[in-house]
Symmetry: C2
Subunit: 345 residues, 2 copies
DNA sequence: GAAGAAATGAGGGGCGTACCTCAAAAATCA
DNA sequence: TGATTTTTGAGGTACGCCCCTCATTTCTTC
């Protein structure tokens, strides 16, 4: 039987009353510095650790977290939303409610207004996935000033006062894609195309940089063509891809930095080129999973959406409670997925 | 403010007293079937979910878990042990103590005796990593009969009454290694060596099978040589490897199914062959990490030891409490690690 | 319909902590 | 030294649940 010391043990050990221990533990005023030290010493001696469960019970503490995501139509975001919904059921058991808020991706001011609104609503923490803009920086500073924990999700906001970033290093992810591309390419390949159907976030740029870096080093003979950007229009993508493939029959691989996997693999399949060109992309969406199984994609670099969500949740709670977090657990892996290590549904 | 229904709400809704609700919730005798149904209906209607934290507090519940690991000298097991120790500090906060028990890997009867001893010690759950033997099967059956939750760790025990398996599908892991090997190999390669320095577990066999399967499909022109088994003796390994490399200068890749990465990469380095032979192995130990960074290994297929431990802990607690678990969270990934996506320390 | 058995209700004490009030003790200041 | 302020102690109530006892009600059975 394990018997953790309680506040009563602590009071006895420190030679003070329960009330004083309580004052020290909860940083209430009216205690001499000397007494505070005595209690802290006792805490060290007997190894007292507050029973968070009991404390939360007594406090009737609820954590209110807001997940602020762009209102973009992509399978990746759909997966995030679905994961969030499923996670809510579990989170409620640990007295935390997760609220989903979406914002129109094109207007940073609307996002800023939404965040500003959150501050007055008794929200304890915010996880936000958005491109960094000046108004966003200001909005996050305001949240921070209001004592609200903020984490950046998927896409980092390095120049803001966010408390933490939950996601992967996209440059490293791009480098990983580059290494695989370099090794998967046939020897005769002379060029590789890059499809940068961006989600307006900085991801695409960073991934491309990492990819280029490695390709230059590992496959110096291969030309990495300029990014094809088609801003979401599927028909346009199909046409542009068709043109490029016609113009450059020496293309041996295609790297998809953002979304648009589906349209691309369809174009390739229609042209009977499936399996003849190495296709590497990001994010294990339903379609990417299907493409891997059918041999329409060769590898997917991804981050586990479930881990991202759970990590964000843990980090926010830790920040709110002011307790340290286990960094090794919160590190999101850059996962390489091929058909053979595809996780089950 | 979120207000979860409490037992009081439940009693009111069901039209019974608190005492009866308590009897139903805790399966105490002396309640008519009709009343039980009434309470269960009310639970459904108002969506009552027991506050586990409060319940555990009232019960003064402690979870005692035993992690039973072989006393093998390998970096992988060292990592497991280290992770376990670090995890204990966190686990104690959720009223669970994790005890480490090690057994001599050569004698299954000692292991069985240890497990039998555990049953009488008030242990609630056991995580065991061991090869499946008849005595082990019996021991696990006995634990199960005693109401103790059992999970298999890293190496599955499919024909026992274990409640769950925490780890990866080793055949799929071998297939993953095979795909990478096939794609990483130079075109001129005619053969690949396999080093099966086994930990006595079934892993090596399963991985080899998966590896062969894929190599035959993807690289039919490459001969996969018979496994080199050297049962842990480093000097022997060095010699055997040297002989093989001399005899077969056409070896283009080496697959290490178990331990022995260090000795192998050293042999290759001494012979100036680093980078000229594709080396793929399993488990991201400190040495594997170092080898990846130095270009002495090309890829490592691994499972995250931290995830394995935490998953085992969650699964055991869930089984003990009799609550369902989130399968998607408990699925251990087959991770592919190359230099570029190597997670930080 | 009465006696016995079974089911239900009422209530108390406790788990470890938070938060509050009021009185008593100690320190500080003039 | 006495008055004032600050610090400390004592004790109560609550959180949501567990577990126990004892009285009361309801159901069986003959």
């Amino acid at each position: 039987m394990v018997m953790r010391p309680t506040v009563n043990d602590l009071a006895r050990e420190a030679g003070v009353s329960l009330a004083t221990v309580d004052r020290v533990l909860n940083a209430r005023p009216g205690v001499r510095a000397k007494t505070i030290d005595a209690v802290n010493d006792a805490i060290q001696r007997i190894g007292y650790v507050r029973d968070v469960a009991a404390a939360n019970l007594a406090r009737r503490r609820n954590y209110r977290l807001a997940f602020v995501l762009p209102d973009t139509d992509s399978q990746f975001l759909d997966a995030m939303v679905a994961t969030l919904r499923r996670g809510s059921a579990v989170a409620i058991l640990s007295r935390t409610v997760m609220e989903l808020v979406r914002f129109p991706p094109e207007d940073p001011h609307v996002l800023a207004a939404i965040l500003a609104g959150l501050a007055g609503q008794g929200i304890d923490g915010v996880a936000v996935m958005a491109p960094e803009t000046p108004v966003l920086r200001d909005a996050i500073r305001a949240l921070h000033a209001a004592g609200i924990a903020v984490v950046a999700l998927v896409s980092d906001l390095p120049n803001t006062e966010r408390d933490h970033f939950v996601g992967i290093d996209n440059r490293a992810a791009g480098r990983t894609a580059g290494v695989l591309m370099g090794r998967f390419l046939q020897d005769k390949t002379r060029s590789v195309a890059v499809l940068a159907q961006s989600m307006q976030l900085s991801e695409a740029v960073e991934r491309r940089a990492g990819f280029d870096e490695v390709m230059q080093r590992d496959a110096p003979g291969v030309e990495v063509l300029p990014s094809l950007e088609t801003h979401g229009a599927v028909s346009l993508l199909r046409q542009v891809m068709g043109d490029v493939l016609d113009a450059r029959p020496d293309i041996g691989g295609i790297y998809i930095t953002g979304i648009g996997q589906r349209a691309l693999t369809e174009v390739l399949a229609e042209r009977g080129m499936t399996g003849r060109i190495v296709v590497i992309g990001h994010e294990l969406t339903d379609h990417a999973r299907d493409a891997l199984l059918r041999g329409r994609m060769d590898a997917v670099i991804t981050q586990n959406v479930g881990h991202v969500m759970r990590s964000a949740l843990r980090v926010l709670r830790a920040k709110i409670d002011g307790v340290p977090l286990d960094d090794s657990q919160e590190q999101i892996r850059i996962e390489i997925v091929i058909r053979e290590n595809l996780p089950g549904v």
